[in-house]
Symmetry: D3
Subunit: 223 residues, 6 copies
């Protein structure tokens, strides 16, 4: 059952980059409010916004053996996505693994578990969204799999799916829906930019979105 899938399809890089510019909230809305990982997935340092192609890892609790296996299969602009097979806050990943991953062009890490060496990772500018920061070490005893579908922080992620991440959290876009979601995301951005200017000028959302009538119909009373 422990397998490494060596060849996976990835989305077009221009689509990935486009989604990265849009950010999590926009992409999440544009694709119909789906794909958002659990809100407990937080960045270890603020200010990063990125998108990348998922290289998935299914790992046993407290065992980071498969991370080493996964790194061999990284292509530039991939992001590692690790889901433990049962819950764990242990520190699966630190500065040595980050050094190795970064040397292969890895964009970062999404991990539904713990990481360590936060100071080093911050200095290296290796972005991580994790469930916990924890120095607890892991073992290398039990196999897992690389590049199989995983459930990470409550969402199904297939290898090659597109991960969008920023200070708001993490969102997954299906590889085959990337182009369509990017189109909708850009449309949404354009529309929002126009609204932003009107709101900044003092217009009210009540008027902009034409909400007054429906509020009255539902029975809102002003007193």
């Amino acid at each position: 059952m422990a397998v490494v899938v060596q060849n996976i399809e990835r989305a077009d890089q221009t689509i990935i980059d486009g989604l990265g510019q849009c950010g999590v909230a926009t992409v999440h809305e544009a694709q119909g409010r789906k794909g958002l990982l659990g809100a407990y997935m937080r960045p270890i340092y603020p200010g990063v916004r990125l998108a990348a192609s998922a290289l998935t890892i299914s790992a046993p609790p407290c065992d980071n053996w498969m991370v080493h296996v996964a790194i061999e299969h990284l292509q530039p602009n991939d992001i590692l996505v690790l889901a433990p097979t049962s819950p764990s806050d242990a520190g699966y990943f630190g500065d040595l693994l980050a050094t190795s991953a970064q040397a292969r062009g890895c964009s970062g890490l999404i991990i539904d578990a713990g990481i360590r060496d936060v100071r080093d990772l911050t200095e290296m500018q290796f972005p991580v969204w994790s469930k916990a920061v924890c120095a607890q070490g892991t073992v290398k005893e039990t196999l897992g799999s690389v590049n199989i579908p995983v459930v990470c922080a409550g969402e199904l992620i297939n290898p090659g799916d597109i991960i969008v991440a920023d200070d708001d959290g993490v969102c997954v876009v299906r590889r085959e829906e990337g182009a369509e979601v990017l189109k909708k995301s850009r449309a949404r951005e354009a529309e929002e930019e126009e609204k932003r200017q009107r709101l900044a000028a003092g217009d009210l959302g009540l008027d902009l979105y034409d909400l007054r009538e429906r509020l009255a119909e539902k029975g809102l009373k002003y007193i």
Copy 2:
């Protein structure tokens, strides 16, 4: 039952500003250790200290319709205070609403739920204290109320009450007690400044607060 109270009383701005200079811990102590919201209410970025007049919103779970309604009633230096009618971590508030609120002079947001667009809000310097950061969108389907008393993060907040917030959390001061609490807060600050200087010079709290005798009476043994 869904109402918007259009005219509320606000505290004198000099009182509000004075309380903002004192900060949460001092004000909380000065008013007899009451009014502190749950410690899970955290700022989205550090370093802000403010006080403002509460404009309250009671909103259904995962529904931000009433925020649009509330913004129309903002006066400069008001702070929005949103309490969901049942628990929700959804992202009720983001950069468009912040743009609109800021255009009306709003000081920030206190929300016992989630918010999104953290990076934008930080750049805009629109301060928020929230229970969660979460990109999950909300709907506009069900009415709530504006400027009624709400329970937010475990504390009753009336429209026009004074909100004090900083890196330590959030505290509410009753509007009608503002002047008295400010007076006590300033007295406390003056007293603390004197103590700070003595402690910085190496004096011990044991002597400053005259604790040795009572410790001995209670039976503390030195060995």
Copy 3:
């Protein structure tokens, strides 16, 4: 039962300083993966790495009386370690106590409870690892003890034990094991530095740690 132990043994300062340079993850690994405090113990501001000698405080819930007692017994480079006798998130410690402790050369605070005046403590550069930030005040009613063994965030800490703390959390090293753990930590660092360079150059952990054969033996399949 309430006692203050006035004379405790401390580790050699050069050993303490050495461990501080190694950091939590390295020290934790070097001593056989023990001594790590619960991952919920987080620094109030990032970027600090230190080691210091533990001055322990056992305090009742919501009562900070014994902190004043403890401060009298601080020696330069000691760190206060407070464990409540039952769980509490109250704010036991703020800027006045920090001023007093810092005047006596105290290195910081480890507290399995809450603290307040975060902004002031950050400006003073007084580092704290705590369970919570909470402005809630405490009382001075019930005795506790100073410099007895305590369980703090799940780990036993004796007075004079060495505390190592950084952005990854907090680890305790037994005083009498300090020299040995430092030796092992430095050996680990040297070994890691070599690996880091090879990984940075693009070598794989699979080869560096010679993992391929054992993975195959365990049955990992590449497809």
Copy 4:
């Protein structure tokens, strides 16, 4: 500030009893989905359904002194409602206090904190809804208040308000709204009974509530 309000108004006992027969879910719905305490408030043993008049206690953290004060003011069919002024899981209440309260006709306890002697309370059939079970003792050092409005598990409760509690949790009904809410609750029960019979006979909610058309309008696709 520490006060005991000796005379409070209570609702009519027939209204209270009627609400008790309806149960939490029905009453909560009937009054417009308000008044529900946090879902972490759980009964210490299953199978109880009751309503009673609230006698409120505002108590300091880890201090049960005011419970003794409150018991003197109990009337038969009152229920004690205790809210700590800051969060606490300590065991404020056990078999002795229950014996005393029961001797005065008390119906039970709602407590946003811990209790102990669960086995005894169960044998005595003294029902409790609490946040925690915890043997940790409390002190009698600091005053609180009796029969003032409190926020308990996120809801405002006034002395004399009606508490409805069962295996689903706890709900508060304003004293002055009791008669109206009872009327609506009974109407709801009657309506539900009819629906229950039709559903038990195999009718579908889709038809009973006439949902098919609106589902189609919203775009639901059957495939």
Copy 5:
């Protein structure tokens, strides 16, 4: 995007029944320690052990509209599996829906959210494994889907997959793996029964599993 898949494949009922007799721990082990839902999924009353075919529901937060849609598609021995599209503890399900589902032969409910009417459900012997008990009502405003793959409590569940549930929690078995997992589960049971008898007779696991030598090799010291 909101769809109802009307025809799904189900596993053979004898396989489902066989897995139900084995229980969660055995089945989970037999299929290689996969498929276990989060441990927070607890039964509302103890003592039930069952297996059933999953009829899946993807529902918006705080909105139970799709449960009505799903019930029409129940076949005898199906179990409803509801996953909200964003986290919610609201009470999606109560005695009326249970009456309707039971009338159609439904075996129970697995829900990563809240339920209510616990007392009625217990009396009806309608088993539920849920994240929360909460009387908070839900709305019928937004569409979801029926019989699409969902992630429930951290595990992917396809319509027609086999759900095994008992006092230990909930486990999912892929429909197409049911026969194989049943075979392995029964083998495991047979093997365990033999061990149980030897252990009951006083034999040690150290001898039964032949552990002594490997413990010595790893360096265990007896002192």
Copy 6:
């Protein structure tokens, strides 16, 4: 470092039995409010009250190998006390281990982790206080220790210490303090019995404990 201490001292059985009759709350109070394990340690079924001598196990996360080692060293009326070296909710213990332990006269299990086979353990009347119920299996890969001091649910427990457990939770009494604590516990019980009778007869705690004067001194106002 992995050791099995074969000979430990145990307290006198009559002392252990006596403490078991007193229960957790009484013993905890009698020994000065210390020794209480975290309130998250809950019994898997209600109604048990016991005391037993601790046989301690320090085990790696998700690894139950040492339980087999420990069982060989059980004496009748011992209770197993397992503390993982880093947090884990995995199911370390089930019906086979319970069968083996029970065959050796073991009184039960205290475990700061998960257990499984709850239904079987309940039928066998093998009592367990645990942090979680979770069917997730564990491995047998890494050594731990038996009969060394451990920190379990926040309290230090030495081998041979006395564990008292009931529906209120778990408390540890030092072996060498057992006789003294039993004496104090019985005195407390006698005193409480007298109070219970007076309270049951309608006397008030205010009078029984002579609280009125001190309340007045502190400033309590009756209005």
